[in-house]
Point group: D2
């Protein structure tokens, strides 16, 4: 992939991410886009918590899912849409921390199904601490109206 | 379980749900609490969407996860906390609709691990349409400071 | 579906099952085939165990997976092949018992992806006891050489 | 960990593996045991196949599950038993090949729950080809009769 192609891929992901209103509602940011790899981060906020004051598992999953979806999208041709088929999340430690980063990687890019793994880390100035792990499948959608990148 | 006990269980779940700031941020409501069964609903809103205008998979997962957690909590003794261990979600259809209801049931209530299944439906006046399905494990937390119901 | 069509579906599943050499190696039997629903059973045997003397989780998963695959196949047109995309299994109790039955149902039959749920029960003369639960996706394979029903 | 401790851990895993009659029935071998990492391999055989002649997903899952269980066991104190709680498998490519190796690693070793990831590769003289990926939870069992390492 040339630098020019990389830039186009990144641009495509950034445009699509900007249309995910829910990511904005969470205050999430796209912090890295590379072919086959995407990172999304969010800062702890009072409205993102579960009953014990940790980040809600649903917030972590939202980051992990969007990161997997966009990592998958980087492997697809322009104009192809991506949708989540399924994912599994293990919650490894209470999500305490000031900032959370989800890092997704493509494990296998098939024609239709793209399988990704993603890890979520809590970051507080100390070493990042792994708090959740996802393994999931994304689907490439061709020629369905309203579903492009 | 006596009616009195049922009411106390429901009260416990409602108090805990009210402390999940993220559920309020989503505009989610607890619509049913019974021993072993909980339903949570949310209305479609412009800030809960993914890039094609469907409800974000992370929102559905948040509802499904909280519903499973509280269904599990109804099987636990007062003062016990619940945390999600892991869950898996299959997305069965694009989440188009005006309102979404997640319905969780306890499949097996172990001492430590409680396994639940949950379904999410899109509702628009027509018959409810199944859009997502979860299978996951919740954990009963005893005697950890800050982690009670 | 007419009785005649049901018989053809059952016949197709039985023929395919007979070609799964691994099912024979386990001593597994196809005990029920209906549109959207399949059951496979195995008897406890000394060579199917894990280190504590329970049925190995891999045996249960094999039954659950084949049951899901064939439940999915009943929804497909003749000549279409089925392959497992992914599945998730929760092990709910130690698999003690004399006989084990996996019962799969189609939850959503899409064009490409068919999502199933399946339960495995231990049976010993007493009431069946739920020992494992699966949720997974099967894929319809069209026109790939060597991959038909 | 001293060399002596490593040897004791390996010895413990090898003894337990030898008691898994199902692994012997599959013809599976323990090819690597290190703290936090275990590999199990099997050769293709006519009785381990699904209907299209590929290795049955249940065989791959059995290897992946046992590899995860033993990787988890290496992190536990002597006398502790291990049981699978749940796992999720993505099947990434048809399991064609002469030999299959499942490689498991501990992702997070909690007191009760140990989360592992594992990959299965087909090997035929060429470069190994990734055919399946697992993410699952194992449980440490203390003081239950009949359930030790």
């Amino acid at each position: 992939m040339t630098d020019w192609e990389r830039l186009r891929v990144e641009e495509r992901v950034r445009r699509s991410f900007a249309r995910q209103s829910f990511m904005a509602h969470l205050g999430a940011e796209l912090v890295l886009v590379e072919p086959g790899r995407v990172e999304i981060a969010v800062s702890r906020a009072e409205h993102l918590l579960q009953q014990h004051g940790y980040l809600h598992a649903g917030v972590l999953t939202s980051l992990l899912d969007s990161a997997c979806g966009y990592a998958a999208l980087t492997t697809m041709k322009e104009g192809t849409g991506v949708m989540s088929v399924e994912f599994k999340v293990n919650l490894l430690a209470p999500a305490a921390g000031e900032r959370f980063v989800a890092r997704a990687e493509v494990l296998k890019a098939g024609r239709t199904i793209i399988v990704c793994r993603a890890d979520a880390f809590a970051v507080d100035g100390n070493a990042p601490r792994l708090v959740a792990a996802m393994q999931g499948s994304m689907m490439a959608i061709h020629g369905r109206e309203g579903v492009s990148d």
